[in-house]
């Protein structure tokens, strides 16, 4: 017998032992009954063992590093809160970006957790099962840490407390809800391509990297630490998404057209989801780090091109929407801000006209479009507000049946005209914001005819309290919407004159004087 200490296992050996070697094929029941969902989408898999996590992360290491991330995160959050960190942000307007971002994202993280929990159950190979389990726990962690981060702000600022109720009801949250509902009700491989690849790999860099760096630039240590802590998991998620694509394409040539359709669909759905992020970067961060257009160029065009050039060897083509997004990067943030500014009475965050220096910054960053199309409107609104006529659009919106955004984007070749597309299915008309949303609908109309469009629900009478005659000729659904949404009136309207504005000024004065 030798007495030498056992050799430390290499990363590869440990990964093999603790993932694949712990799995087994069933014998009492056929594998197809144990994993019933992996066949019906038409994807063909021949050898599940070909899927390996390139991080080679095992559960023991996962817990160790995630625990360290959590300790760091909560130490920073405690310090930020104990030090009245909310008063160190650049300007109280900044808080509104948190209301939108942290009011819309946690429920979506929860949906991602549910989706990846199901993936962990459905994937036949041990490699993807373990990776999906880790991602499910990550997403649950993001859901919790975002709520913990915003809870301190909720003690001081209006409009943060009803995000869970509003998630399934509020008009401007329905695009995100629809995105995840669509993904989670698809089959397991489409979900992986939707969230793992299109969203995590191709698009979340836009959301987390420049935007969270922007939060840091604006003095928000809490959002920065939550965002970066989440993003440290995203690198793993992106890798899972990319491995999934390579695995599907290497397994069988018949998978290519299915995967291509999913990439086309989900790159576009993700692009539409990020319209509001553009507005957050260009309009809502008082100190700006880069324009949405610049972020799009670095993280979508350059990084996406690298990715799609690489995938070309499998026959994958650049998503059909790619060229349209390149044209739209000059417009989407402005069109989003215009859409939100005018509905300030039906939202739980404030909007405003940017100051003169901010308008100049936008002119400089968007030389092809801002002065020509957008600056005149913002300056007109500013003038009207100073005359006591702050613009409010009291009408109810028209929404895209697929992405659920209001129909507000322009014809790709004409920035002055709104883009309308429509289809007829079973004798009923359906409207879309773009060719790409129409194509998604036309492929699976049975799915999208179920869309929850807030304004239509109101007009059907589904948002009025009991006792109201919703069939009456003069039934006015708008009267009941803010109660239906549990909208705090203090959180609505322009930033100028808001409680947040007054309180922040008073508290900061207290913090800097005796």
């Amino acid at each position: 017998m030798t007495t030498a200490p056992p050799k430390k296992l290499s990363l590869k050996e440990r990964y093999t032992l603790m993932t694949r070697d712990l799995a087994w094929d069933t014998t009492y029941q056929p594998m197809s009954k144990v994993y019933p969902q992996v066949g019906y989408e038409g994807i063909k898999i021949h050898d599940w063992n070909r899927w390996e996590d390139p991080f080679r992360l095992t559960m023991d290491a996962y817990w160790k590093y995630q625990a360290e991330k959590e300790r760091k995160l909560y130490a920073i959050l405690d310090a930020f809160n104990q030090n009245n960190g909310h008063l160190t942000v650049t300007d109280a307007r900044y808080i509104n970006v948190l209301k939108l971002y942290l009011g819309s994202t946690p429920p979506l993280e929860l949906m991602a957790a549910r989706g990846f929990t199901n993936m962990g159950r459905q994937m036949v190979g041990a490699g993807p099962r373990v990776a999906c389990l880790m991602q499910a726990v990550d997403e649950y962690r993001h859901f919790q840490t975002q709520i913990h981060s915003v809870s301190n702000y909720n003690k001081y600022y209006n409009g943060l407390d009803e995000f869970a109720h509003q998630q399934s009801r509020m008009w401007y949250l329905s695009d995100g809800k629809s995105f995840f509902d669509d993904a989670i009700t698809a089959g397991p491989f489409e979900f992986m391509v939707a969230i793992g690849f299109a969203f995590e790999y191709v698009l979340t860099n836009i959301l987390f990297v420049p935007f969270i760096s922007g939060a840091a630039y604006n003095g928000d240590l809490a959002a920065m630490t939550v965002g970066f802590s989440a993003q440290s998991d995203e690198a793993r998620h992106m890798t899972l998404g990319l491995e999934c694509i390579k695995f599907l394409l290497e397994q069988d040539p018949d998978n290519l057209p299915i995967v291509q359709r999913w990439i086309d669909k989900w790159t576009w759905r993700g692009t539409r989801k990020l319209g509001a992020v553009g507005m957050m970067m260009d309009y809502m961060l008082p100190k700006r780090i880069m324009s949405f257009k610049e972020a799009w160029e670095i993280y979508f065009e350059q990084n996406g091109s690298a990715l799609f050039n690489d995938l070309a060897r499998y026959g994958i083509k650049v998503p059909a929407c790619f060229s349209q997004t390149v044209v739209e990067k000059e417009h989407v943030s402005h069109q989003s801000w215009i859409g939100f500014y005018m509905k300030s009475r039906a939202m739980s965050f404030h909007t405003w006209v940017p100051g003169p220096e901010e308008l100049d910054w936008l002119s400089e960053k968007y030389p092809n479009t801002f002065d020509r199309f957008y600056r005149p409107t913002l300056e007109h609104w500013d003038k009207m507000e100073k005359q006591g006529k702050r613009f409010v659009n009291n009408t109810q919106p028209m929404n895209c049946q697929c992405c659920l955004n209001t129909i507000k984007y322009n014809e790709p070749d004409d920035p002055m005209s709104t883009c309308f597309r429509e289809s007829v299915y079973k004798g009923e008309k359906f409207h879309f914001c773009s060719d790409h949303c129409k194509a998604i609908f036309d492929h699976e109309p049975e799915k999208y005819v179920q869309a929850y469009i807030s304004s239509h629900q109101a007009l059907q009478g589904n948002c009025a309290p009991e006792g109201v005659d919703v069939t009456a000729n003069d039934f006015d659904p708008a009267r009941y919407m803010n109660d239906f949404w549990r909208l705090d009136p203090r959180a609505t309207g322009d930033f100028n004159g808001s409680d947040d504005q007054k309180n922040f000024a008073a508290w900061r004065a207290q913090a800097t004087t005796n």
Binding site: L11, F55, A61, N205, F208, F228, S232, T239, N303, A306
Partner: protein, 90 residues
């Protein structure tokens, strides 16, 4: 021309050393400083070597510790005990 691989970290004392190690081991590395984060671009292929990071840090380093500081990556990944490699060259 090959595409850029990149990696971004939260800015702290550990990642200052990690970035120095990347710059030493990858000719052509471009470091981009941004608020609270640092991004490194390398054309084609980037390698992070455990031994170089250990030299810079002056202590033992497990490449899986990168998990704690990571923000984002671009490229195909291959991680072993000694190297963390991102690449667009297959």
């Amino acid at each position: 021309m090959s595409s850029n691989t990149f990696i971004a970290f939260q800015k702290n004392e550990d990642t200052r050393c990690i970035v120095e190690a990347i710059v030493d081991d990858n000719p052509g590395a471009v470091v981009v400083d941004q608020p609270a984060m640092v991004k490194v671009d390398v054309p084609g292929r980037m390698v992070i070597k455990r031994t170089t990071v250990e030299e810079k840090l002056g202590r033992e380093f497990d490449l899986q510790e990168l998990q704690v500081h990571l923000i984002t990556i671009s490229g195909h990944l291959d991680e072993t005990d000694d190297e963390f490699c991102l690449s667009w060259e297959q």
